[in-house]
């Protein structure tokens, strides 16, 4: 039986979307232009956490720290006040590598720890990272953040004019502007491209020897070890890959927002939000993770602000009372959603197909 390639279809739809006039006006009218790339970056971060948590089954509570490390590496390599001023691609690669390296350094001594203890180490690591980022503000900018981070240079083949087409470039052909701050679609395609590439990469890794080894370690570490799998090395690989992808997401975030944001942005609450999204969607299932991110980030970035401004328009809350503001109930909605999910659908909205439901 032939399966319908849903992933490919959705990706094609997302890529074609901004060229359809109806979609384009909808996006511009609702100011979604800068939100959608953030959503894609969030999805990359979610996939990064899914490697450790979903595939390898290790509870990781400090993913945001790696995201932050990526963002700050990217910034340090690119902003004008430092002598490096690397280009977009080498800096992004470096952000991922630095983050992966720190992931290896963190996880190599802690691999023999059991689930809950490992969770605490990652949590503590997150707190320490934030503290260091805040304390060494001469390097990281601290609260002042590092900015502006330059936008990537568009590649030659997009901008150079073609003589056979009235001297128009590929950008003109696609009717895209070349100003990153005005044309949201540039970041849209950049982040969507990365998301698709990482999704594809993870799909292949999951089906490789490494992915099967992760599954075995997750389901029963002892049995996996007896089968000759080097559990520690597999977990190390998961941590490194996850940290690397998170670092890459952080680098993209820094470039997209043009600043590093202050260090406290990358604290535990961000890690927990990503964790919730991954669990909500379905541990270990990539599609589920994307859906979870769509729900949680979509709620936070799109739905909640829209509802708040809508309520304000209705003049529903003239005295500005705390409990009548929708955004003051966000945590409650998150919390209840988690509780209901765990009660009635503990494997997530889209459960992983090979999950052991014993």
């Amino acid at each position: 039986m032939h399966r319908i390639p849903w992933g490919l279809l959705i990706f094609a739809g997302l890529a074609a979307g901004p060229f359809i006039p109806l979609v384009q006006t909808f996006v511009l009218e609702n100011n979604l232009g800068s939100t959608l790339p953030s959503l894609f970056i969030g999805a990359i971060l979610g996939l990064a956490l899914n490697v450790v948590l979903g595939n390898a089954g290790q509870l990781h509570l400090g993913i945001a720290a790696f995201y932050g490390i990526g963002a700050f590496t990217m910034a340090i390599l690119q902003v004008a006040i430092y002598p490096f001023q690397w280009g977009f691609w080498p800096a992004l690669l470096m952000a991922a590598l630095v983050s992966a390296f720190i992931g290896i350094v963190l996880s190599s001594p802690t691999l023999r720890l059991r689930g809950d203890y490992l969770a605490l180490v990652t949590l503590g690591f997150g707190v320490i990272t934030i503290t260091l980022l805040r304390k060494f503000d001469e390097i990281t900018g601290g609260k002042q953040t590092l900015n502006p981070i330059p936008t990537p240079k568009l590649p030659e083949f997009l901008t150079s004019p073609y003589t056979w087409w009235d001297n128009k470039s590929l950008l003109n052909l696609l009717e895209l502007g070349d100003d990153w701050s005005k044309e949201y679609r540039l970041f849209y395609f950049l982040t969507l491209g990365f998301l698709a590439a990482i999704y594809w990469l993870l799909r292949n890794i999951e089906r490789s020897r490494l992915g099967r080894a992760w599954l075995a370690v997750r389901e029963d570490e002892l049995a996996a070890t007896c089968m000759g799998i080097n559990a520690a090395r597999m977990k190390l690989a998961a941590f490194a890959l996850s940290a690397g992808i998170a670092g890459l997401a952080g680098g993209l975030y820094a470039v997209k927002t043009g600043t590093t944001n202050e260090p406290t942005y990358f604290d535990f609450s961000l890690s927990v939000t990503v964790l919730c999204a991954v669990i909500l969607g379905g541990l270990g299932s990539r599609n589920g993770v994307l859906l979870g991110i769509l729900f949680i980030n979509g709620f936070e970035l799109i739905l909640a602000p829209q509802l708040d401004s809508y309520l304000q328009k209705l003049n529903f809350n003239p005295e500005g009372k705390n409990y009548l503001k929708f955004s003051n109930w966000k945590l409650m909605i998150f919390g209840l959603a988690l509780l209901l999910m765990m009660r009635f659908r503990p494997y997530g909205i889209i459960p992983e197909r090979r999950a052991n439901r014993g």
Partner: protein, 315 residues
Amino acid sequence: MFPVLLASLDTSVLINICINGLVYGFLYALIALGYTMVYGIVELINFAHGDLFMLGTMLVWTFVGVVAVGVAPGSFLAILIILGMLIAVPIFCALLNAGVDVAIYRPLRTAPKLAPLVSAIGVSFVFMNIGQVWGGSQDVNIATLIPDNNLLGADSSINLSGTDVLIMAVTIPVMIMLTLFVKFTSLGRAMRATAQNPVAAQLMGIQVNRVISVTFLIGGSLAGVASVIYALKVHTVNFQMGFQNGLYAFTAVVLGGIGNIPGAVVGSLIVGMVYSLASGYADNLWATAMVFLIMIIILIFRPQGILGARVREKV
């Protein structure tokens, strides 16, 4: 940094820092006991425990705001109010904690291992939201009920306030009572049996669910005591403070060995001391990092904690 350190190597400063560390240590111990008992019995890191403590302080805030308007610090009435709160707030926290167990954790006893943990995070969010709506997004202030003057005389360089004495006078008996309860009563024995092996305990006729409820009741009431004391000592609370204090307490639990009651107390005293020393000689941010650094080091080199016994992984 070094000359500053030398200049402040003054014995009275050190003694003050140690007193402060001890006081915070006892405070964390009250929270930590709730964590460690629950972990010992149902193997759940109860992320909502710190937020339960926060809700307790919110109740203290409301209580003091309603009842203690214009009450002079240190007066007979103030002491009566404190005693009343030391009874009412723990009852509130205990019932809330046990209620959450029955409504949320109990149906998940057979669920996959992550489910209760994630639910605890969910409960923590709900509690935080309640706290946010209750007290608002800003810090709220709690009126002073115990005079802040120095018990050792105004000109003594060593500072010991009435609050500090009260904290030790409350927490030390509570901990002794708890230890005696777990060691010598039949319910305490049932708790230890359930912690060791719930199935075997059930086969021996122990009503496991009731034992778990009692554990949550005790843990919650200790958090309630901690919130009264915290409110009296620190005077400002906000809806986000539960998370950080909960983490310190949890670090203490890990230090002492998860599930180990004396370990939690020892761990808390260490955390309190480290925090106090680091914030005295450096600053608060470094203090937080130090606490977690020590936790990571302990976990790497002695994962069973200082007082914990090495447990072989069950096959």
